[in-house]
């Protein structure tokens, strides 16, 4: 049986595919030097949201990190970063909630960073998406 959380992450990856040069789930290294954009999907764990007889409702944290490298200085890189952010959020909200799997999603705070003294203007953003879903008590693979 496929864990419900696996179904959610698979949907996130599918939604973001093609939006950046690299889209990777649970990366262990940064983007390739050859790429200009990257989206990383990180599992932020999950917390108990609610429960009733026979049902466990979870708040799953999906971390989305975006990277943009540009040669046109700060304005060009920042504009590209904002464009990547918009396309990622729009794609995620179009793909989630998944009918019959997750019932609600919420976007968390956004943070933006600049790599100091990098060999090209290099910016990153990071935000969390909270996905709510309910499973049968004691069975993370069965939706309830």
């Amino acid at each position: 049986m496929t864990a419900v959380r696996e179904q959610i992450f698979a949907a996130v990856v599918a939604a973001l595919a093609g939006l950046a040069d690299e889209v990777e789930r649970m990366p262990s290294g940064d983007m390739s030097p050859s790429g200009d954009t990257a989206l990383h999907i990180l599992d932020g764990g999950q917390q108990l949201d609610d429960g009733e007889a026979g049902t466990t409702r979870w708040a799953l944290t999906v971390g989305i990190d975006g990277y943009v490298r540009a040669t046109g200085g700060g304005a060009a890189a920042h504009a590209a970063l904002n464009a990547l952010y918009v396309s990622a959020v729009q794609a995620l909200f179009a793909a989630l909630p998944i009918a019959g799997v997750s019932d609600d999603i919420e976007e968390g705070p956004l943070s933006v960073m600049v790599a100091p003294r990098a060999d090209a203007r290099f910016l990153a953003f990071s935000f969390d998406l909270t996905v709510f879903y309910a499973t049968k008590r004691g069975d993370p693979a069965t939706i309830n």
């Binding site: 990366p27 262990s28 290294g29 940064d30 983007m31 390739s32 030097p33 990383h40 990190d65 990277y67 040669t71 200085g73 960073m113 790599a115 100091p116 003294r117 990098a118 060999d119 090209a120 203007r121 290099f122 990153a124 990071s126």
Partner: protein
């Protein structure tokens, strides 16, 4: 080398610089497309968001005597492969040389 006095020290520093330097084309710091010798460096950048450290810091070190005026941010350095733009300036050895941190300009 620190006990080499006066002009000998300057000459030794110059020889040392030229030994490791390559020719680059500089615009800025009083130069306009002039060829100057600069020593390249390429090392890991400062820690950054994410699991890895893909950012690199590239810098060029110039002898101050080769630059008619002090370097400024925005001056460009062309090494024949990449056009670099200066984003950070370090002053070394009491202005004897400048280490210029760059980013790709195009």
């Amino acid at each position: 080398m620190t006990d080499i006095p006066g002009t000998d020290a300057a000459a030794a520093l110059r020889r040392c610089h030229d030994k490791f330097a390559v020719d680059v084309t500089v615009t800025g710091a009083g130069l306009s497309g002039a060829t100057v010798k600069a020593v390249p460096s390429n090392r890991a950048g400062d820690a950054f968001q994410g699991p890895g450290r893909s950012a690199r810091t590239i810098a060029w070190t110039f002898m101050a005597a080769d630059l008619p005026s002090a370097p400024t941010r925005g001056m460009t350095i062309d090494d024949g492969t990449t056009l670099w733009r200066v984003v950070d300036i370090e002053n070394l050895g009491g202005s004897a040389s400048f280490r210029l941190v760059v980013e790709a300009a195009s």
